[in-house]
Symmetry: C2
Subunit: 240 residues, 2 copies
């Protein structure tokens, strides 16, 4: 399988600039051959402003950015893309717009069959997985399904957050929320990517990158912590 | 309109027991005439355990609890109910189960036409409003729509949380999430009920109760803070 994915937990790390904490990984990922990246800004309301932010950042890394919302035919833009980056924002809004523009199947085909590199951040990472069932976002719009692009057969929880022992807030912790998901479904596994971490997928190999650990949730098992550098290829087997 | 609602932000307040912080309001609300309350435990996975928790608490307040999941015919149970309490948990799971059991229309009819008292807490408050678009929960299951029972024409955000100025977490604040909702829709208003607060609705009168303030979000306007005791009846007018 030609699949190449860079799935980033968060676009901005505390104290840094937009995509600053992962810029080395972005350059390693897209390399020298890709010149032009197709950007999908659907997760934010102001698509023009969002495109400018992404364009400015990628320019400093040596890449041109074309935004799918600026093209007359989004499906055709995906067909011609050398590489894709889907940015963060609201996951429900993003997934609905991907379906509205008939891009879900097309992106899946381009990435899994044609092997173009796919980078996602936050909401863009959520929609790359099997479903958006483990997003943290508010359901501000109703997508036609929670099934997503399905570039990997498991779920990711971006911005994974450990419980704050000093908090007096009584809303569910992130871990409790993911446990509720597994009360409903036997699989998939959920990989909690803390801010600062990202997953690199190359064919059937998956590696944790970045500066923070990830936490894996599997129904009926103890949660497991993984250090940066860990091989998580076992997650790419179906029905983990 | 006969409508009588007690919409509580949270079931448990830090340092207290289940429904302890609102027990006086519960007794004032259901009064002496209601003897038996129909409980809806659908928001949690273990319905038996949840019913026991609710039953034990309401017993100390002088009420019997019958759980809708223990009845052979949930619709008939709603038709015969003297009062309803929908508890918290996962809002998506709750709303889906309400639709699966054909209770949405029936509860609306009983509350708005027949005037039986409705109490909701957390997820049970979300589903009483016009939609679940402003829930904080993880979308672990896919309900047939986000439209909810519609006992009031606005949205509530339970467990409303102010930003933590010391946090290094970069996920959206609650206020940013609600602002994203208003990027999509002109109305409805969103009432952020902090933990400790609740809304009492009697006919066309709405009053904020409890120990904390509430924050109101209306598209294109400055947010407004309301003290306990505030009259919020203006929210009951359609299309606020």
């Amino acid at each position: 399988m030609k699949r190449r994915l860079l799935l980033v937990s968060n676009s901005t790390l505390h104290g840094g600039g937009y995509l600053q904490h992962c810029q080395q990984q972005i350059q390693d990922f897209f390399g020298k051959e890709v010149k032009r990246i197709l950007f999908v800004p659907y997760a934010l309301h102001d698509r023009d402003a969002y495109t400018k932010t992404a364009r400015d950042k990628f320019k400093t890394l040596g890449y041109e950015v074309e935004s799918v919302h600026e093209t007359p035919d989004p499906v055709d833009a995906v067909r011609k893309a050398e590489g894709i980056f889907i940015g963060g924002g609201n996951t429900f809004r993003l997934l609905k717009a991907l379906y509205d523009n008939k891009l879900v199947t097309e992106i899946k085909k381009r990435v899994l069959e044609d092997g173009i590199p796919y980078m996602g951040s936050s909401a863009g990472t959520n929609v790359s997985t099997i479903s958006i069932n483990t997003t943290n976002d508010m359901p501000i719009v109703y997508p036609p399904t929670f099934a997503a692009i399905g570039l990997v057969p498991f779920n990711i929880n971006p911005h994974y957050l450990d419980p704050d022992p000093n908090s007096k807030h009584m809303g569910e912790t992130r871990e409790q929320r993911i446990t509720q998901y597994h009360e409903e479904l036997e699989t998939p596994s959920v990989l909690g990517l803390r801010e600062g971490s990202m997953l690199l997928v190359e064919g059937n190999k998956a590696t944790l990158l970045g500066s923070t650990k990830a936490r894996l949730f599997q129904r009926g098992k103890q949660t497991t912590e993984y250090e940066p550098g860990s091989d998580l290829s076992f997650l790419l087997t179906d029905a983990q």
